[in-house]
């Protein structure tokens, strides 16, 4: 009987909302404006952006669950340190796995995998959500937020790689459709960090004009 209740609430509307809200109207990058630094740093190419999103998804999903399990035993005054230890452990795990199985991407991401530790989204979710909620909702919240984060990363990286290098995941799109023969030249500005900021800004612009409730007075 109690199992029945448990199962029903697994994907209750409230829990689904935890998963979908951060993808849309509560997006960590475009609405909460967190995690901007890594969004600017790793989005020059699509591949590192995807790897980065997956890494953050692992760290945030697992971290949220662990914090949630420990939430009643963590002393209030040293909670930040405890959180940092957990994030750091998970990030080192990710870093080592990447170094072992995806060395090239790991070199491209360089310091930014390590800097997941300082990613504001992760600390933000720990503080705001998993310190006060059960493991399962915390897990959904972590996955939702990292999908929201990863989605923006991938969109930005797609445009930056396409217009900056003329490729998608290394496949030379513009060359194969013969655009260079018409005099097209890759836009070097797209690869520079300022253009990532402007691209994120344009995404925010589009999102807010489609969703007027996000516009602050």
């Amino acid at each position: 009987m109690s199992e029945q209740v448990q199962k029903e609430s697994m994907f209750s509307p409230k829990n689904i909302k935890l998963l979908t809200d951060p993808i849309g109207k509560d997006n960590p990058i475009t609405v909460q404006v967190l995690g901007i630094c890594s969004a600017l740093a790793v989005t020059a190419k699509l591949e590192p952006a995807i790897v980065m999103s997956i890494s953050v998804m692992f760290v945030l999903g697992a971290g949220n669950v662990i914090i949630s399990l420990l939430r009643n035993t963590i002393p209030q005054r040293i909670r930040i340190i405890v959180q940092l230890v957990i994030i750091a452990a998970l990030v080192i795990l990710v870093d080592q796995v990447l170094k072992a199985y995806a060395y090239d991407v790991s070199k491209q991401l360089s310091v930014f995998v390590g800097l997941i530790i300082t990613n504001c989204i992760i600390m933000g979710r720990f503080e705001a959500f998993s310190m006060a909620n059960k493991p399962w909702p915390s897990f959904l919240d972590g996955i939702g937020n990292s999908i929201g984060y990863g989605m923006i990363l991938v969109i930005v990286a797609f445009f930056r790689e396409l217009f900056g290098s003329g490729t998608i995941l290394g496949w030379e799109v513009f060359k194969s459709i013969g655009l260079y023969d018409l005099g097209y030249v890759n836009n070097g500005f797209m690869i520079l960090p300022p253009m990532a900021l402007i691209t994120v800004g344009i995404i925010i612009w589009v999102q807010r004009s489609r969703n007027p409730e996000l516009i602050k007075e």
Partner: protein
């Protein structure tokens, strides 16, 4: 005239609220006020009537740019014929340049105004005159060989990201024309710098580098143009920037009509000269040793930037003291970047954009110090 008025009055109901083409309201409004003096009057508050309005201001700037444009067209042809060793007449030089520069002007205006019209329709506000000057400036500050689609792309970027996102004409932080150039410079460096782009269809053996470009790579002896060449503008460079004389003619028009601020213009030149002089005293590298300070003022885009870009009333500092500081720092930064940063042969663009960003801060501190001084005076009297 009567026919035109009648025609406008006939189609007017269609574009007003509730009409069939109401979404074209601002387009109609733009053309109507272009043809006739608008009948709207200010309803609230005190207002001063003057013969000058935004349209006339913008028009005067365009007039002031014409000497630089005409000279630029001729120079494009002159440099081309010089590179292939043909002795061409004044007229044929001019028309060679004319046919290369006019397409850039057309693209800049059509694309820029098109973007402005679209935004005006979408937001339901009127089309502003601000782009008249930006559209004229963009062709003058790019190399003549810039592909037209790049000009179009840079124009869209400058109008949308530089102006419309901030709220349109008068709200922009950065000078739109310079932003278009900065976009091109960072996006397509090989089309915007080096020795290949400044002379149209030059002979391969001929070095088409600008004097500043040559200075940057100079190792033992430097190859400066004569003072007269640099002042009159017989050297490669962006279309409108080479001739200091033509630019000064424009400056006279701007100052005589009171449109540009003499404070900004004057202090940019002082700042550039002062920094050049300081470098002359140190002489740390060959560039500083052998380039007299005044050369900085007549080479590259310095004069053009000082007269037409730095004085942009929207992006410059607003307070009088602020204008001196703003102008002086532009001059200093421009020469500093030229001499010390080997990646950028011309520092004027970056210097003006940088100070555009700082202008509100400068104004803020000027106003604050003014308030403080006055409070002190009040206290003294009260005590």
């Amino acid at each position: 005239m009567k026919i035109l008025r009648d025609y406008l009055d006939k189609i007017k109901p269609n574009v007003e609220k509730g009409g069939k083409f109401h979404y074209l309201h601002s387009t109609f409004e733009a053309f109507e006020t272009f043809l006739f003096v608008p009948r709207t009057v200010t309803k609230k508050g005190s207002h001063i009537r003057d013969s000058i309005d935004l349209k006339r201001t913008m028009f005067m700037v365009v007039v002031a740019l014409i000497p630089a444009l005409l000279f630029g067209m001729w120079n494009v042809g002159y440099q081309h014929n010089l590179s292939i060793g043909v002795d061409a007449s004044l007229i044929s030089n001019f028309f060679y340049g004319f046919w290369l520069v006019v397409p850039i002007i057309i693209v800049s205006y059509v694309v820029g105004l098109g973007t402005e019209f679209i935004f005006a329709q979408m937001r339901g506000h009127e089309v502003n005159e601000g782009y008249l000057v930006s559209g004229f400036l963009i062709p003058l500050i790019v190399p003549v060989t810039t592909p037209l689609w790049m000009v179009a792309l840079a124009t869209i970027f400058a109008v949308v990201i530089g102006k419309e996102v901030f709220g349109g004409t008068g709200m922009n932080i950065l000078n739109p024309a310079l932003l278009a150039r900065a976009f091109l410079f960072f996006a397509y460096p090989s089309q915007m710098s080096g020795d290949k782009v400044w002379v149209a269809e030059k002979a391969d053996a001929y070095s088409g580098a600008t004097p500043l470009g040559e200075l940057m790579t100079a190792t033992d002896k430097i190859n400066l143009p004569s003072v007269a060449d640099a002042f009159f503008g017989f050297m490669p460079g962006s279309v409108g920037e080479t001739s200091t004389l033509a630019i000064l003619l424009g400056a006279v028009i701007l100052l005589w009509t009171g449109i540009a601020s003499w404070r900004v213009m004057f202090s940019v030149f002082i700042g550039g000269f002062a920094m050049g002089w300081v470098f002359n005293q140190f002489g740390a590298n060959i560039y500083m040793n052998d380039v007299p300070a005044f050369y900085h003022l007549i080479l590259g885009g310095f004069a053009f930037g000082a007269v037409f870009m730095a004085t942009d009333p929207v992006t410059a500092a607003q307070t009088n003291t602020g204008k001196y500081i703003y102008g002086f720092l532009i001059g200093v930064m421009a020469v500093l970047i030229r001499v010390l940063n080997p990646a950028y042969p011309e520092g004027m663009m970056l210097a003006i954009l940088l100070l555009n960003v700082f202008a509100p801060t400068i104004d803020y501190y000027i106003v604050q110090s003014n308030i403080k001084r006055r409070l002190k005076r009040v206290k003294q009297i009260a005590a």
